[in-house]
Symmetry: C2
Subunit: 151 residues, 2 copies
Amino acid sequence: MAIYTADSLKAELNDRGWRLTPQRETILHIFQNLPEGNHLSAEDLHTRLHEQGDPISLSTIYRTVKLMARMGILRELELAEGHKHYELNQPYPYHHHHLICVKCSKTIEFKSDSILKVGSKTAQKEGYHLLDCQLSIHAICPQCQRSLFPV
Amino acid sequence: MAIYTADSLKAELNDRGWRLTPQRETILHIFQNLPEGNHLSAEDLHTRLHEQGDPISLSTIYRTVKLMARMGILRELELAEGHKHYELNQPYPYHHHHLICVKCSKTIEFKSDSILKVGSKTAQKEGYHLLDCQLSIHAICPQCQRSLFPV
DNA sequence: CAGACTATTGAAGATGATTATCAATAAGCA
DNA sequence: TGCTTATTGATAATCATCTTCAATAGTCTG
């Protein structure tokens, strides 16, 4: 959960024997310029990159996003059925969690530093290297409670 | 997050115009008799049901497990890449969370009632009907920190 | 308790997000 | 500058999950 520049991204990649490519830098930029509360699926990213004149292939997008999640740069979110969303993994005090309607996927973000504390403490206690910690609240939103079918 | 018997399950299903079937009852039993800390994928369930002489079809398993998650009877867990796991959604003080290694998927469970409190309070404040609340800590376990490749 | 209504099941096929493959390209390093 | 090999893009493959539909069986009513 650090703040990345092209240089620090390059340093961290090179440290591991990997390379900084224009594609990786572009994708990082997209996430860094995303308004708070936004998250993108691989498909969303692909579309957006095309629109801004960077036709990065879907393969590369999937690989990059997975790589960055494994490095702790992005968070992988399960906000909807069937596909993942990604957002920047920001440190305190931007760190937040999600309240998700399991019927319509409407999502509300909220913050809680006590949760982040529990997360870091638990990881540390077990000797795990923390990448991300997120509280997911699965629930049914007021609108969907009114509609009976199905479930 | 209640404790279900065949009768209370039937009552809740019938309330919504649905039915209690032997398949649904059998699947609930499997989860109720699962040792603490175990969770099953759809495929796991299928195998286990076959072994105990209940050849329930995969379709029905997928449908049932999804239904029960929507009802708040089961929790849907993202413990490994590529497929979901399910476990009983138990109330306090059995309610727990997961610390997951993103490389090898080794999982450690831990409890925290402060998190459950944050979850219920947040859902209530927004008028959402709470089904499940889980803190997922994504991290790298001590063993995988030692192995360098890949990621 | 029988009959009607319709939710549910099982089998098979369809879907679609994500991965793997592989030749061509281009970072990073000596 | 050249070498090594990580990365890319296009394509095809994978595989968990969902759909479809005819047959079956819960639930409710009289």
